[in-house]
Amino acid sequence: MKIRIGLGSCGIAAGALKVMEALKEELDSHNLKIEIQQTGCIGMCHKEPLLDIIDDNGQTFTYGKITEKDVKAIIEEHVIAGNPVEKHLVNSSQNPNDFLGEQVRVALRNCGIIDPEQIGHYTERGGYEALKKAITMSPGDIIEEIKTSGLRGRGGAGFPTWFKWNAARNNPGEIKYIVCNADEGDPGAFMDRSVLESDPHSVLEGMAIAGYAIGAAEGVIYCRAEYPLAIRRLELAIKQAKEKDLLGSNILGSTFSFNIRIKQGAGAFVCGEETALIASLEGERGMPRLKPPFPAQSGYWGKPTNINNVETFANIPWIIAEGGKAFAAMGSQTSKGTKVFALAGKIKRGGLVEVPMGLSLRDVIYKIGGGIKEDRNFKAVQLGGPSGGCIPVDLLDTPVEYESITATGAIMGSGGMVVMDETTCMVDVARFFLDFTQKESCGKCVQCRIGTKRMLEILERICNGEGRPGDIELLQEIALKVGEGSLCGLGQSAPNPVLTTIRYFREEYEAHINEKKCPAMQCKALITYRIDPDKCKSCALCAKKCPVNCITGEKKKPYVIDQEQCIKCGNCMEVCPTKFNAVIVE
């Protein structure tokens, strides 16, 4: 028997360390010697903290939303008496839940299962076998295998991985570099963090194979400093791999040598762009450089450099071990394998999910995610973060594959998937993302530096009820030109949230501008809260919760909101008992 506890950043934040303490105490008090294994993230964010009991038959029982107080019952009833505690059970081997059952795990194959701090756990599950195999192959054969797999970059653009490797391999040069892009700057995205925290060796192994294929002896992981746990586990993993002769000079007695080091970035979104990332690695200000030359021609210190995303690298060992054909067997015509998404927003079951390409957005959101919170109506799903766009309900059957998603005006991106319901204002969403890109623009080129700022100003005035006729056209015009004319991907993709929301939710823009109304009741300047005198039962709950004390009234008389002072926080509406429902928003 074994007990496993999720200690990714997510689990720790949810209180898993306390559960761990309680667990140790409880086991001690019963004099039980059972191994407690830490693990990374299985992806069920909505159920953290998570605890697995793996019984002597190898059956796994997962308990979710565990607190210190629940530990006693689980130990006594399940571990000692052998009866699983149904109340907290969220998944089991015999009875997989829909969240995990619909997923196919390649990049996340070890996440939430192994202890990321023990290389033995990784090798037990076949880890580093792919590297062993790779160094007996020719670099050309490896690249051919990657080509067969159809793997495309998971960092956003979906460029065929084999092609970049091949270019870096064929470009002349004694010294070449492998760079792992772990900048993960999209707000709300945490796919790469989870992989690094939960299965760091898979990335190291992928990088080493890439190094062998292109002829590089050095790899650098560019990781944002805001990921301290990922960095600590990577450092440990590098150390362990070196001790086992899986990294360093003459790996496993071969002529192939490969070292990996970590470079911490300060977390600018633009530093995820590959040429800005290289500038930052070289100690320069993180600003994009002109392409060509591409990194494969002249990258880090002017040498041929291959940059891939964390998830791309995590797929590599699987492909080499299982064969490119097995990978290509999953997915659709143009997009092979699987894709990891960080499912968030107004969704019942949020978390990290890995699905085969080609699955429809509807299946991801409803089958895996369980549908919309509080059974509200689905409005849109945002893919690709600040570079992406909003996909409306009638395109919910769009399959998860690069071309189909691009056709909607959004992008596959690195895996951010934010679900929005009827309470989300689409103009406000566009404003939110533009605010982000405008702040994160490096400021080098005119289109992005000035253009995103001017777009933001227009969006702000629309949200403030000061929109003018013609604003939509003005927005579209700058958006198109910023997209066409910007120097790097940040500016080129920054207009996507604006363009897609105009394309699919134009009437919402029009309501803001022409009728000065926010249909989703979100834009503060355009809504008022009012108390219906017929429904108000003078319970005074709202008056107590109003942060600016602008609700007055007395017993038996309906309460009234002072519109002058109201800051539109919506607290009153929230606290008014549902049986009264006296607060109205208009």
């Binding site: 600018a268 405008q438 490096c442 080129c445 005119v446 289109q447 530096r449 100003e457 700058i478 004319g485």
Partner: protein, 258 residues
């Protein structure tokens, strides 16, 4: 090698960019961040042209586009024209009422901008030519600060840049004429970068003539010993020539006061 610009074929020998070829052939492409002494930078986006064939079709910065055989370029297609106008209007919004900007806008047929004008007017178009020339000079005394629309050029932390040589290269190249150096009591004062550079004295006439660090840097980097102001240098050279030409007796080779 032949490339086609606006329907006409041009022969190109050796390496050059589309912008260079166009300039050579008298085809007008507006630029703000291009400087012939510097590498392409691609920041102002005014030089965008359209690739029709021979490359990835679409808009691209001509200052950074190397010519290649069979490249077909339009510098004035409707698409180029449109994006250029918007770019110009964006620059006008960020740098309202700056004469040099207005002049360029007029040349492109743009008279006003529909976008909100910057509340804090700024004349710097952030072409980065000063920063780049300074880095080429080898000191990188000035650089960029802040991101997005807050971007500015300045010395580190907006303080007097301690590596400024007083070479005045930046002053020379700024297309907006925003950088000014002045001599005051043996100190070269450069604005807006807050440069304060002690000057060197001419060993002949005793006048201050350049930043003292310049003298040391020239000596160190190119082995050139400069201890005379340009005028004394000229006189010295003339004297040497005259002497070599047998005219020495017409000159007083003794020290001469100004």
């Amino acid at each position: 090698m032949y490339i086609t610009i606006n329907g006409t074929d041009y022969e190109v020998r050796g390496e050059s960019t589309v912008l260079e070829v166009a300039q050579r052939e008298g085809i007008y492409i507006p630029t703000l961040c291009h400087h012939p002494a510097l590498e392409p930078y691609g920041a102002c986006r005014l030089c965008l042209v359209e690739i029709i064939a021979g490359g990835r079709p679409g808009l691209t910065a001509s200052c950074a586009l190397p010519v290649s055989e069979g490249l077909v370029i339009e510098t004035d297609s409707p698409r180029v024209h449109h994006v250029r106008q918007i770019t110009m209007k964006l620059i006008m919004a960020a740098c309202p009422d700056v004469p040099a900007v207005m002049e360029l806008a007029e040349k492109l047929g743009v008279t006003d901008t529909p976008y909100q004008k910057a509340s804090v007017p700024n004349s710097c178009v952030l072409c980065g030519i000063c920063v780049r020339i300074c880095s080429k000079v080898g000191t990188s005394a000035i650089g960029f600060a802040y991101r997005g629309s807050d971007r500015q050029v300045m010395g580190p932390w907006d303080k007097t840049p301690d590596t400024c040589l007083g070479c005045r290269a930046c002053e020379n190249v700024c297309p907006m004429g925003l950088i000014k150096f002045e001599e005051k009591d043996g100190v070269l004062i450069g604005e807006p970068f807050k440069s304060r550079v002690t000057m060197a004295k001419c060993s002949e006439c005793g006048r201050f003539f350049t930043g003292a660090p310049m003298v040391g840097t020239l000596q160190q980097r190119v082995g050139l010993a400069v201890d005379l102001c340009p005028e004394c240098q000229k006189t010295k050279e003339a004297r040497l020539l005259a002497h070599a030409g047998g005219l020495g007796r017409y000159f007083n080779l003794e020290k001469q006061d100004h």
